[in-house]
Subunit: 194 residues, 3 copies
């Protein structure tokens, strides 16, 4: 299932049930697990972990030491900064109340997390499961994302709060001049509509 043009570093490990699109590069010690579906032209840095069943689109960049867990969907053109981690359990426990080891999947329900087209997640951010990050949103470095983020929103902090809106290019929008607009980008000379 791995296309010829895919570049996998010798220290990386890719499951033979994973699908990887053409021109995708997978660097040192990264691991792609069973049934993961990854698009084309993606770049995975050093020590990236893609759990089983994760779905990733085209033109996605995932930097060093990122962990993406089962239940996460990442759409086209998303940037995931270094050291970002997703989660897939809101109430993590190693053991059940009776003291037995909690097993994967059989003992808990996974909440879906969606990262929409063109958005960026800054360095070291943590994304709680069950959230959706909107199209072209920008999550600042060191954020803890605990709830849904609207399209084009700029958020940061712990917990992450909305601090403004950004253009497709990532630059902060000037205040909107109509109720249908999120703001105006001085660089792109466009008004971004809601």
């Amino acid at each position: 299932m791995i296309k010829k043009e895919v570049q996998i570093h010798p220290t990386a490990e890719v499951s033979n049930t994973a699908q990887i699109g053409e021109n995708t590069k997978i660097w040192h010690q990264s691991q792609i697990r069973e049934e993961a579906k990854i698009g084309k032209n993606c770049i995975f840095g050093k020590n990236v972990y893609i759990d089983k069943n994760v779905i990733i689109g085209n033109n996605v960049k995932i930097q060093n030491n990122v962990s993406v867990y089962d239940g996460v969907i990442i759409e086209d053109g998303v940037f995931v900064g270094p050291h970002v981690s997703f989660t897939n359990d809101k109430i993590p426990r190693a053991i059940n109340p009776n003291g037995s080891l909690k097993l994967e999947q059989s003992d808990w329900k996974i909440d879906k997390t969606i990262v929409k087209k063109g958005s960026s997640i800054g360095c070291g951010s943590i994304i709680l499961c069950g959230t959706t990050i909107g199209r072209f949103a920008l999550v600042g470095a060191g954020s803890v994302v605990t709830k849904d983020i609207p399209d084009h929103a700029l958020v940061y902090g712990n917990p992450a709060r909305i601090r403004g809106y950004v253009c497709i290019c990532g630059k902060k929008l000037q205040p909107p001049n109509s109720s249908e607009s999120l703001g105006y980008c001085n660089d792109c000379k466009i008004s971004v509509t809601k």
Copy 2:
């Protein structure tokens, strides 16, 4: 000292002076250093680092990219989320005031950190040394733990503050109906006593 039933990935490195209990699994690139003592039925994810002299109980789950340093004791049934790091020096410096390189151990005293039975540490949290995390406490994702956490406490934030109390199962307790109780769990139908 490594039992036959222990599963160690070929890319992991386990010191031959470390003790590992039966049925424990150690995954990709993880490293267990000299004199570490690890119980049975534990799972260590990818790129976990267990420093020398660390003590870990039974049924402990440690996720990807966790660093546990000398001076840390982790009791039975603890969950340590991805990207968590412990520390063992409150005033880290690379050099002494005279400019010479600070050497390990000879030049500083290690503060003990204790993570008690059944507690959970959420994704990306940082645990300052010299702290104790109470039994069945729940540290939310992205927390910076700077002081002791009582049994069953739910804490989160930077710095982590008490936000409520949780059951053995991890669910938030309803307000207590007596001064001896921390609260009532609607799921487990039990009152948790202080």
Copy 3:
């Protein structure tokens, strides 16, 4: 260009265009990229990533899972705690506004980050690019550094704010007794001047 006395773990990868000073140790899975310049007596922990063109002085300690990106200069005697990440792009995007994949360097300008002599960066901190961390400053664990930090400042939090001043030894200074002083160190018996 790699001196004989340099100690490189077999699982580490060092570019043959990188310069490494004598007595420097590079541990498991660490990677030093092209044209990086590293001084002597340094210690790089497990899974450290040093990007191309990074400059690092002598007697520097870099702990596990640290990522240092192109554009960062680290002076002599600096401590970089575990899981710290630098950044080199204030507005990260995977794609250009026209939808094409953003390429390295050709498509963005790197902001320089400088970490001055003798300073320390606590565990899990994130350093935004374009900032300078002053001499002997101490960045507490879990900080997000968003602006310049003066010499000897103690900062922590998200975002990191000044909370006091520290000595060369790292201990907190007592209030100053003159306008030229930052404070007095009870341990070193010295007054630190501005």
